[in-house]
Every structure is written in structure tokens, then in C-alpha cells.
């Protein structure tokens, strides 16, 4: 699998340049171009901020940054999960035409979602600094958080891509689950609200841990070691699972295209 992975990485022109080129082209005939990628989320977050800061009994300077940064990273994670499900199937022509390493479309999905995050994070960050005091020193952890997210996204994306190609129901199932997970993840609500007998539910949610990695330092919340341990643990397990899957099935998933 190391060979497959290094061959995938070597095709950086495909998964990096060609992916970004394609996204930019998709907005070619619009006036705002790639700015559209943050117009939508800014509208959604503004309305939700107004609505939920009225409903929830928590200080607005906690709710709004939590929502804004949370939304940007939720879009990244949900986009990764949903897109990965189709990433091998969508590249049928690439795979059948000539040798194409299996990880290349997963990396392409990661670049795609990362490029969108680069757009959405700017207005979300502006919104959140309107409400919070100057940045905490923990800000330096953000690059590390992005690194862990990217490292986790590749094996998870690969597993999803392979299983969803083989079992076509799985993509729909994952899609439906992601719709539910949005509400189970503290984005429109804050983690401190998870109290009582069901509080442990929050800690079973992998998306919570991954979002908190990047969100805590950006909104000046204290860093929780648990989030890092769980996220790195999930990443390690996902890599092992990806290795095991590749070892036993190799490239045979391609006959299910």
C-alpha cells in the first residue's frame, strides 16, 4: 500500500492543480466566481447567529464564534465524508483508462474541501473575532489541528470510497447519517450544554473531537487533551484499517465500477 500511496502522492499535478483548476472553472461564468463559496455560508451563519443567540441561554460571545468556526469545519468534514463516498465511482473513466492509483481521488477530495475551507474560514473568522477578545496563544495549534484532520481524512476517505463503490447503499446511508450528525455535533449549540445522563453521547461523536481540535484555539477556548487523543487515535485506527483492506483486496474494488 505504501507504493500505492506514494504513486498517488506523486500525481500531485492531478490532485492539486487539476482539482483547483476544475473548481475555479466551475464558477467561470459567474460574476462572483469562487467568492460564492463563502456567500452561502455567511448568510446561513448570520441568520442562525441571530436566531440561536435569542433562543439559547448562553452568552452570545460564546454562541456565535462557536457557530461560525464550527460551521466552516463541519462543512470541511461533512464534505470530505460525503464526497469520499463517490470519489472512486466518479473517476470510473480515470481508473479504466489506465493505471490510476487509488488514493489520488481521495487526495483530490481533500484538496477540494480544503480549498472551500480556505474561502469559508475567512468570513467565519471575521464574524467570530467581532465577538471574542484577542486571540489566545493556543492559536499556534491550528496548523497542527489541520494536519491531524488531513491525516485522518485520507484513510477514512479511502475506506468510504472503497466500501461505497462495492456496496451502493452505503453512500445513501452515510449521507443520511451526516444529516443527523450535524445536530448531534455542537455547532448550533455549545458543548457545555451537553449535561445530564446523555452527556457521554457527545464524547462518542468523532466529529466533535475533530472540530474541537481547530475550533478551540480559534475561539479562545481551553484546549482539551481528550480531543487530541481521540482524534489521533481515530486517525491511527483508520490507517490500520486502510492497510488491512488494501492488503486483502488490493485494487479489486475496480471491477465494481
Amino acid at each position: 500500500m505504501i507504493k500505492e500511496l506514494s504513486e498517488s502522492l506523486a500525481l500531485w499535478r492531478v490532485w492539486f492543480f487539476a482539482t483547483i483548476y476544475r473548481i475555479v472553472l466551475s464558477q467561470r461564468r459567474t460574476y462572483l466566481g469562487t467568492a460564492w463559496f463563502f456567500v452561502g455560508i455567511t448568510m446561513v451563519v448570520s441568520v442562525k447567529a441571530l436566531l440561536f443567540s435569542g433562543i439559547l441561554s448562553a452568552p452570545v460571545e460564546r454562541i456565535v464564534p462557536n457557530l461560525a468556526i464550527g460551521m466552516a469545519f463541519w462543512r470541511l468534514l461533512a464534505g470530505m465524508v460525503n464526497d469520499s463516498c463517490r470519489s472512486i465511482a466518479r473517476n470510473k473513466a480515470h481508473f479504466e483508462q489506465s493505471y490510476f492509483p487509488l488514493f489520488t481521488p481521495v487526495l483530490s477530495t481533500l484538496v477540494h474541501q480544503g480549498f472551500l475551507l480556505a474561502h469559508t474560514i475567512i468570513p467565519m473568522f471575521v464574524i467570530s473575532v467581532l465577538y471574542i477578545s484577542p486571540l489566545a496563544i493556543s492559536f499556534v495549534l491550528v496548523p497542527a489541528a489541520l494536519g491531524v484532520i488531513a491525516l485522518g481524512a485520507v484513510p477514512v476517505g479511502f475506506l468510504l470510497a472503497v466500501f461505497c463503490t462495492r456496496y451502493r447503499d452505503l453512500g445513501n446511508l452515510v449521507n443520511s447519517i451526516m444529516g443527523v450528525m450535524f445536530f448531534l455535533t455542537p455547532i448550533i449549540w455549545i458543548p457545555e450544554m451537553a449535561k445530564g445522563p446523555y452527556a457521554w453521547f457527545l464524547y462518542l461523536n468523532p466529529f466533535f473531537h475533530f472540530i474541537e481540535l481547530a475550533r478551540d484555539p480559534l475561539v479562545g477556548q481551553p484546549i482539551e487533551a481528550l480531543n487530541w487523543i481521540v482524534a489521533i487515535g481515530i486517525t491511527a485506527v483508520a490507517w490500520l484499517a486502510a492497510f488491512a483492506l488494501f492488503r486483502s483486496y488490493g485494487r479489486r474494488v475496480l471491477i465494481w465500477l
Partner: protein
């Protein structure tokens, strides 16, 4: 599998491919939509056995070989190209090649309608893992050969099918492959361009490289290929 430093070759040893049957036989719950759309009398095929689309294929090609694949629709010509290119993994057997292989089973692949012809040359280059500066250097040659002229700066969505085919072929032939796999495709483009493409193919072939061409066009087979394999139900039944 790509092998390095052995001169150009392409070989398939005892290659078979079995496709799983999912989708045709098994029942998908569809709340009756299936019977409304296609009628309820559709036969369903048992799901447990796969379909053998390639069966014991042996091919050995060395520099200068031009293999034509003949046979009726569904004989397995395109599938064989997909396996020879290293794309589809064979169920049994080994496929090996050495040299830069470019396959045109899906000639339109990677062509973006919103981008101009020129941008598509660059994009296609990225997909072939060639650098942007290299593609810019050879772009003029590609544009000349494609005869697209000023239209190369128009979005490809405004092109006719023939123009797109000319663009794809021109990029492919200028990407300096050692081995090319073509699928029933050289017939695209108008007569003038076809002649030119065939001439370029012959020139290419003289460069001691390998071509595999699947086609129904006997004239083309005879004028370009030095070997012809006739396929039937996934087997090579005749090799000349």
C-alpha cells in the same frame, strides 16, 4: 504493472477477467417503479455467478508492433484495452508493460467544457502528470496539428464532437507516448483530419513504439496494423 529499463514492450499472460453480476440479477426494492418503467416481464439473471469477459488472453508485443483487435460488439475488445493499460486488475494472469503508456479508451476524459481548448491542453497535461511549462512549450505544435486555429481560445463546450476528437487526439499524440491504446476512435474528425491522423500514426509507429487499436474498420486494420487478433466472447480466436 509498469516495468522500468527493459525497452518498450506490452504483454499479457493468461489473462482472464470475471465481472461480478451485481445489479443485473439482484432485486433492488423500488416500490414498483421498476415494473412501471420497464414492465414486469423482465428476466432476472442469477446473481451468484460472475460473467467471464476475458478468457485466457495471451499477447506479447515488442517495439514496432501494431496490434489490431477485431471482433463483434461485446467481444471484449474495449475491456481488453482497459486491462492492458493497467486500469482494470485482471482476475487471473499478469499484464506488464515498459515505456510510457497512453490510453484513449475514453478520449473525452478530462476535457472540461468550460475551459478553452488551450486551457484543456494544459489540463490534460496535468492529468498526464506533465508540467505546465512543458505543455506550454508543446502547445503550439498541438494547436497546429489540431487545425483548430483561433477557436482554440473558445470554450470547448462550443466545439463540435469532431473538433473535440481532434483536440484529444492531438494532445495524446504529442504527449510522447511509447505505447498507445486506441478504441474505435480514429474515425472521429472529418476526412481530411482522419487522413492526417492516420499519417501521424504511421509516423509514430515508425518510431519503434507499440500501438493497440480496437476497430471495426478493416481498411484501417490492414493499413496500420502488422498483427490482427480476432476476439469472440472474451477469447482471442484468431491471431494473424
Amino acid at each position: 504493472m509498469a516495468i522500468k529499463n527493459q525497452g518498450t514492450f506490452l504483454s499479457a499472460k493468461d489473462v482472464s477477467l470475471i465481472y461480478p453480476k451485481a445489479g443485473s440479477g439482484h432485486r433492488t426494492s423500488n416500490f414498483g417503479w421498476q415494473s412501471i418503467l420497464t414492465g414486469s416481464g423482465q428476466k432476472s439473471v442469477p446473481d451468484n455467478q460472475g460473467r467471464r469477459v476475458l478468457d485466457g488472453i495471451n499477447i506479447e508485443l515488442k517495439e514496432g508492433d501494431r496490434l489490431g483487435l477485431a471482433g463483434r460488439n461485446g467481444a471484449g475488445k474495449t475491456t481488453l484495452l482497459k486491462v492492458l493499460s493497467g486500469g482494470l486488475p485482471p482476475t487471473n494472469g499478469i499484464v506488464q508493460h515498459s515505456g510510457r503508456l497512453v490510453s484513449l479508451v475514453y478520449p473525452q476524459m478530462g476535457i472540461n467544457g468550460e475551459a478553452t481548448g488551450y486551457e484543456n491542453i494544459l489540463l490534460r497535461g496535468l492529468h498526464l502528470n506533465l508540467s505546465l511549462s512543458h505543455m506550454r512549450n508543446i502547445a503550439d505544435e498541438i494547436i497546429d496539428f489540431s487545425e483548430l486555429g483561433e477557436q482554440i481560445y473558445e470554450p470547448v463546450r462550443t466545439y463540435s464532437a469532431g473538433m473535440r476528437a481532434r483536440l484529444s487526439f492531438s494532445i495524446m499524440i504529442h504527449s510522447n507516448p511509447d505505447i498507445i491504446l486506441l478504441d474505435e476512435w480514429i474515425g472521429a474528425g472529418d476526412k481530411m483530419f482522419q487522413k492526417k491522423a492516420a499519417a501521424k500514426m504511421k509516423e509514430f509507429v515508425k518510431g519503434a513504439r507499440i500501438t493497440v487499436l480496437a476497430t471495426h474498420n478493416e481498411q484501417l486494420l490492414n493499413s496500420i496494423c502488422n498483427k490482427v487478433a480476432t476476439m469472440e466472447r472474451g477469447k482471442i480466436v484468431d491471431m494473424k
